[in-house]
Structure formats: structure tokens, C-alpha cells
């Protein structure tokens, strides 16, 4: 595949590290004779772009503009189209985030491109760009290709590729925007977005709470277990949506994908959207009152019981 284009992502001035995985995937897709071009749109892009200059990247473009401070589709789409104008690509990769999935689908619709969102990998099939996704309760992998003559837009889930190590030799250039950033019908009137403070991906031990903790008091037990183990605290979307935990601690399809040595799931039912984020943990202990909870299918140790009874016992054994 000769030309692969990556749209990297900036969140409040911080480079989203899935962008680097997209570069890893793009390099593999481009092969030895292909080229990889990376674009970073957003306010503060110039200051954050350095890590995008990875080995094998031919060009890093930044679109640093005040009008790109809060994400809305149209101006971002205009910038990507402007960057692609002189650099046609057979494949365009973005992180599978709320921005990437929105922008990727908008881009596909605008370009008449094939589109695969939430892909678990990209490659080629009979010389055409392809992407695949594991779905149907993780039992089926579906592979798609772009129709003849169409580019492919794919958004990549966490873990779809390795981030490249080291730095490359590309110059970081400002993309000339001119009239590209036009009027936008939508306007972000207010934002209520927290800063990311934890990186669960590097944690060796994670103690994770589900709705089964019942509330902030139950969560306190989980927190004590995490402290006793020197572990990070994680949780399900149910716990985050209930406001008991900050969103950067959510594990699963729309949260972090983690691979700790030890994962202790407390009061978590084990919906597939949660399990995809923790399946690769080396050892999983699950505590749940329901003997048939699906979380037990991904657990090495199955404890059927009330976490309010079991966790104090574990704390005692740990001398806490």
C-alpha cells in the first residue's frame, strides 16, 4: 500500500497516545516502499507534535489554529481535506475515540471512501486496503475491504497495533490553512471535561469496581484493597456513569484497555464491552454474588460471594 495518512488526535493540548498506535499500523500497512503522512489538528498542535515524528514517517503536518480549540466536525473535516488535497492516500487511519469515530465517518462520507470504525487491525486483501473487527461476543472476526478504486478510512481501537519506538527524520511543518477552516454550523457552548490523571495501561495490579459495590461506601472497600496491594483503581462504565469514579478509570470498549499482571474484578457482571478491556490480564480474580456472571468466563479465580464479606477477608490476609 503506497500511501497511508494518519489523523492524530489532541485532547486539550495533550497528544492522544492511540495516535502513535495508528502510526505503527500505518507503517506496517505502507510497507517498505510506501509513505506515511501524519496530520495533527488542534490548538497547541505544534507544541505537541514531536512524538509523531516516528521512524518511517515521511511528513508530520500540524494545523495549529484557535478555531480548532474544541472539536466540531466541519472545521476538522475541512482541515483534513485540505491536507489530503496534495497528498492522496489509499488508507486513512484515526484513533477510535469519540473524535476519531465522528471525524472518520464524516471523512468517509465526504470522500466516498470505505469506512470501518472500531477496527482491531488493518492490512491488505488482494492489494486493497482492509480492516477487521472482532465482534459477536468476541467470537467472530469480520474482514472488510474498500471497493475497487476507493480509499479506506479506518478507526483503530486501543491495541490494534504497537506504537513505534524511537524518533524519525521528518520535519514538522505547519499546514497552510488559508480559507480551509470555514464557518461551522455547530458551536461548543460549554465543556465539562476533566483532565486525565491516571494511566491504567501501565499498572501492574488493578482492582476494579462494578455496580455491585452499591455506592460510594462499597467503593471505599475496593479502594482499601487497592491501597493494600499497591494497585490502581479501575471501574466499569456503570460506576463511572453513576459518578462514583472519574472517567479516566473506566476500563473497556469505550475506556482503557489494560493488561496488568493481576486484575481483581469486584461486583462486575462482565459485559463484553467491559471484558474486551481486560481480557489479556495475566491473572484475573473475580468476586460476584451471581454464580453465572459472565465475568467468571474470563477469570482464573472465581469467588462466588458478597464483596462486602470477601474483601475484608482479603484485607485481613494482606495484613491491612
Amino acid at each position: 500500500m503506497p500511501r497511508v495518512f494518519v489523523v492524530a488526535e489532541l485532547n486539550d493540548g495533550v497528544l492522544n497516545d492511540l495516535s502513535l498506535q495508528c502510526i505503527g499500523a500505518a507503517r506496517a500497512m505502507a510497507g517498505a516502499d510506501g509513505t506515511v503522512v501524519v496530520l495533527l489538528p488542534g490548538t497547541g498542535a505544534a507544541a505537541a507534535a514531536a512524538p509523531l515524528n516516528a521512524p518511517g514517517v515521511a511528513e508530520v503536518l500540524v494545523a495549529d489554529d484557535d478555531r480548532l480549540a474544541a472539536y466540531t466536525t466541519e472545521p476538522y473535516l475541512a482541515v483534513v481535506k485540505a491536507a489530503l488535497a496534495g497528498r492522496p492516500a489509499e488508507a486513512i487511519l484515526l484513533p477510535a475515540t469519540t473524535i476519531g469515530n465522528d471525524l472518520g465517518a464524516a471523512l468517509a462520507a465526504a470522500l466516498g471512501a470505505a469506512c470501518v470504525t472500531d477496527a482491531d487491525g488493518v492490512g491488505a486483501e488482494e492489494g486493497r486496503p482492509a480492516a477487521w473487527r472482532v465482534g459477536f461476543d468476541r467470537k467472530v472476526r469480520t474482514v472488510w475491504v474498500a471497493a475497487e478504486g476507493r480509499p479506506l478510512v479506518a478507526t483503530l481501537r486501543d491495541g490494534a497495533a504497537e506504537a513505534p519506538a524511537g524518533s524519525g527524520t521528518a520535519a514538522v511543518e505547519a499546514l497552510s490553512l488559508d480559507g480551509a477552516v470555514s464557518q461551522t454550523p455547530c458551536r461548543v457552548v460549554r465543556r465539562d471535561v476533566a483532565k486525565k490523571t491516571v494511566n491504567l495501561r501501565d499498572a501492574k495490579v488493578i482492582v476494579a469496581a462494578g455496580a455491585g459495590v452499591g455506592g460510594p461506601e462499597g467503593l471505599e472497600l475496593i479502594r482499601r484493597l487497592a491501597t493494600a496491594l499497591g494497585a490502581e483503581l479501575g471501574g466499569t462504565r456503570a460506576v463511572v456513569d453513576a459518578g462514583w469514579m472519574s472517567a479516566d478509570r473506566q476500563i473497556g470498549q469505550t475506556g482503557a484497555t489494560v493488561r496488568p499482571d493481576l486484575y481483581i474484578a469486584c461486583g462486575i457482571s462482565g459485559a463484553i464491552q467491559h471484558r474486551v478491556g481486560m481480557l489479556d490480564s495475566r491473572t484475573v480474580i473475580a468476586i460476584n454474588t451471581d454464580p453465572n456472571a459472565p465475568i467468571f468466563r474470563s477469570a482464573h479465580y472465581r469467588i462466588v460471594g458478597d464483596l462486602k464479606v470477601v474483601i475484608p477477608k482479603l484485607l485481613k490476609l494482606l495484613g491491612a
Binding site: T72, T98, A105, A106, K139, T142, H300, L314
Partner: protein, 259 residues
């Protein structure tokens, strides 16, 4: 004049908690291996539309694609409080999101003036999500995705709350617009989404659901090449009796080794 709100209602595979073989030898879905359900996010979209109707008055029209398979989602919409329903012709399995959007947009246009088009954001198993973005491109309307609440609704604009990774954004957009509704909406509210009402069932049982034929048959841009079985992870699960302190200790010792 009250708003007209169109809601896309899709029948999708129910992929929760699947047991047994899903694919046949040829890589097709085994008949009977899967049930379908009303797409939960589309159901959220319907609930959002019906809440607008309750609060401000609105005409709610459900828009479907193709013939029902196991669940009559459009009738379900009528039984929950939608005023009317239409179907676009076409087969969910036969085309991609862009082609679905072309047909659905045709059905939406057939309704005359529509102020809001609501649709679920993601159908992750077999489909490429963000139908909303393709619908927006077809209709030439703005769109906001991952909406989970309406903050403000005026005659000609809406402020939608959008759930993003680390919080919320409040996005204003002029009407007509597409709002893609996320999964979180109303999940904590035990009364939502509202169930079907017996009275509406009686009233709507025979309601006519007109079919809107496609004006052209767009060729898909994204081609599904194959489905492959993913081998299950062989994981050995030991059951630990929580009353057995020695067993709990052994478990902790083994699990913490090297951690």
C-alpha cells in the same frame, strides 16, 4: 408549530452472551444461532424523541429499513408512542452504511419538513457505525454524535449534551440536524426506555406502515469479505470458597507472584 422528529429504528443482532457456534463452515451466520433485538441506542433515540413530545409536543415518526426479521421494531415504536412509521426498501445485510444512509435519507425526505433526525450512534458487531454521519452527508444537515440529553430546544436550534471520554460537551446546532444518541442515555432511569402500552397496541396494531422505495441502488463502498471464527480463549478457572481462608491465601500468593 411543533417539531417533527424522525427516529431511525434498526433491528440488529443480539450479540450479548452468545454460546455455541455462530458461523457455519462457509463462514456464514448459522441460521437460528442469533436472535435479533431493537437496537438499544435507537431505542434510546426513540425515548429521547418521546420525551421531547411529552414536554413540548412533537410529531414522532419512526423510520426503518427493510422487512422485519424477528422483531417488528417499527410497530414497537408505534406501541411506545410514535405517531407514524415508514420503511425504506433494502436489506440490512446486502449493503454498507453509506448505502443504508442513502435509502434512509430518502425515507426521511418523503416525510416533508423534519426538524430533528435521531439515531443510535454505534452498532459495533456487523455494521460500521456512525450511520448518523452518512445520513448528515446525504441530507446536508449538521450532526452531533454521542448525544445523551437535550439541554435546550428552540424552534430553529438545539443544544445537545454530548458524552465524550472525560466528561460532557454542550453543542449548539441549527435545525434541521441529526443527533446520534449514545448508549448512556437514561440507562440509570428504571422507567426508561418506556415499555409498549396496551392501549397503543390496540390502536396501532393495524396502522399502515408505508414503504418508500429507493430511488437508486448505490453500490457499497465497503465490502465485507468474510467472517472468521475467533477461537475461544482457553482459560482454566479455579473456584475458591470464600469461607476457606487457606484457599484465599493460596490464591493471593499465586496471583501476586511476579506482580
Amino acid at each position: 408549530m411543533p417539531h417533527t422528529i424522525a427516529v431511525i429504528a434498526r433491528e440488529v443482532w443480539d450479540t450479548r452472551d452468545l454460546t455455541g457456534q455462530i458461523l457455519d463452515e462457509a463462514g456464514g451466520l448459522r441460521p437460528g444461532a442469533l436472535q435479533t433485538r431493537f437496537d438499544p441506542e435507537d431505542l434510546n433515540a426513540l425515548e429521547l424523541a418521546l420525551r421531547i413530545k411529552d414536554a413540548h409536543g412533537a410529531r414522532v415518526v419512526a423510520v426503518g429499513l427493510g422487512a422485519p426479521r424477528q422483531v417488528e421494531v417499527l410497530r414497537e415504536c408505534l406501541y411506545r408512542g410514535a405517531d407514524a412509521a415508514v420503511t425504506a426498501t433494502g436489506d440490512l445485510a446486502a449493503a454498507d452504511t453509506a448505502a443504508h444512509a442513502r435509502r434512509l435519507a430518502g425515507a426521511v425526505r418523503s416525510l416533508g419538513r423534519v426538524d430533528l433526525l435521531l439515531v443510535g450512534t454505534a452498532v459495533p458487531d456487523d455494521d460500521n457505525s456512525l450511520l448518523a454521519r452518512h445520513l448528515a452527508a446525504e441530507l446536508g444537515w449538521p450532526a452531533v454524535s454521542w448525544v445523551d440529553a437535550i439541554e435546550e430546544l428552540a424552534v430553529d436550534r438545539v443544544v445537545a449534551r454530548r458524552a465524550v471520554e472525560m466528561g460532557y460537551e454542550y453543542v449548539e446546532t441549527p435545525l434541521p440536524a441529526v443527533l446520534a444518541v449514545g448508549v448512556a442515555l437514561l440507562e440509570d432511569d428504571p422507567r426508561a426506555p418506556r415499555p409498549a402500552k396496551a392501549m397503543l397496541k390496540l390502536k396501532m396494531k393495524k396502522a399502515e406502515i408505508p414503504t418508500v422505495p429507493a430511488t437508486d441502488e448505490p453500490a457499497p463502498l465497503t465490502l465485507r469479505v468474510r467472517r472468521e471464527a475467533v477461537p475461544p480463549r482457553a482459560i482454566e478457572t479455579a473456584t475458591v470458597d470464600p469461607e476457606n481462608e487457606a484457599a484465599l491465601r493460596a490464591m493471593l500468593d499465586a496471583a501476586l507472584k511476579g506482580a
